[in-house]
Symmetry: C2
Subunit: 204 residues, 2 copies
């Protein structure tokens, strides 16, 4: 989080820095984004920058936080105005609103694009692993369909992607909770139940 000196700044100066920074992070991925450039364009001293922010990451996170909070605030009304809609209709509304938001804020969208690619930089679809994992799940699904376990009207490619991401999130969920010692097959069981039956009420 930025230091309190940043929030003590006159709004105009704060806005200048924020705007310049958003522009920088919308134009370059995190690593290539230059603190020196931000300092220059903002017209502040380099010493000042580090009196406002811990470091480059601190500023970046501040932007991402602000951006995500804005997005979440847009979603809130969907929930309170959803009396006549069921869960799944509201869920779809969330996405519609998300697309609208992205179209209205191209720089934030550009930043999000970099964010996504930056996350994948260390490991992800940019290397050759993800395709292999997707193929693995795809094969599993095909077998399941031919055995009759799995619905045959699903999109195999897309569903593989979902399973891959769900699998990763289970790993993460358990890692958050602690170490491998605490590994709990119950979480896996719940995930598989989620995948198998969904969360919709039967006949609902």
């Amino acid at each position: 989080m930025p230091k309190k000196t940043f929030f003590n700044l006159p709004k105009k100066k704060r806005d200048t820095i924020t705007t310049v920074a958003l522009d920088e992070f919308a134009s370059y991925p995190f690593q290539q984004a230059s603190v020196a450039r931000i300092i220059k364009k903002s017209g502040i001293a380099s010493g000042s920058f580090y009196q406002y922010f811990q470091d480059k990451l601190d500023l970046y996170r501040h932007l991402v936080d602000t951006f995500t909070n804005m997005k979440l605030e847009r979603f809130a009304p969907l929930l309170s105005n959803s009396d006549n809609k069921n869960f799944f209709e509201t869920f779809k509304d969330v996405y519609r609103e998300g697309v609208k938001f992205a179209r209205q804020n191209p720089k934030l969208q550009a930043l999000a694009g970099h964010l996504y690619r930056d996350k994948e930089l260390l490991a992800g679809q940019l290397n050759d692993i993800e395709p292999k994992a997707l193929k693995f799940y795809g094969d599993m699904l095909k077998k399941g369909i031919s055995r009759g376990d799995v619905r045959k009207d699903i999109d195999i490619e897309l569903t593989s992607y979902f399973l891959f991401k769900l699998g990763s999130s289970v790993n993460e969920y358990i890692m958050i909770g602690g170490s491998l010692e605490k590994w709990d097959m119950k979480v896996v069981d719940r995930m598989i139940d989620f995948v198998q039956h969904g969360i919709g009420k039967k006949g609902g």
Copy 2:
């Protein structure tokens, strides 16, 4: 990918570098991992390092690739020996095997832990956004349950997590395909169907 000079190296030297590097990346997150230390411990010249690898990331990815390939190879037999098991039982086996693999390779597991945290470094549960997003989905689910749209025997916290991750993956899936212009609500529809009904064959 490492340069061919690396693969031309005598196996022993190559293994030394790999072991030292694994040790480094298991001990420190990517940013803090030091090329200088790896060079020192491996007993190679700094000039040589850059004749073997593009840069630090190149070496890191090589390790992650190797590690993930090893893991995938362990999973392959599960698929071919699954004739008497349905999709969801095999799915569970994959996780059992994953845990075994992690226990047998603590350094790889440590590296994976850093990898996960590094990915979350830019944005994720380390900042204050994810809890808010999870709460949002949690509220949606509670409302769905009280309306009778959603099964009431689900784990709300865990399911919120799944929805959050699935949502992110939809965004990513569409971003891979191209720009926002190509945004296709059909992908969202399929995702919602996946969430609502699951992929298990009814009565299967």
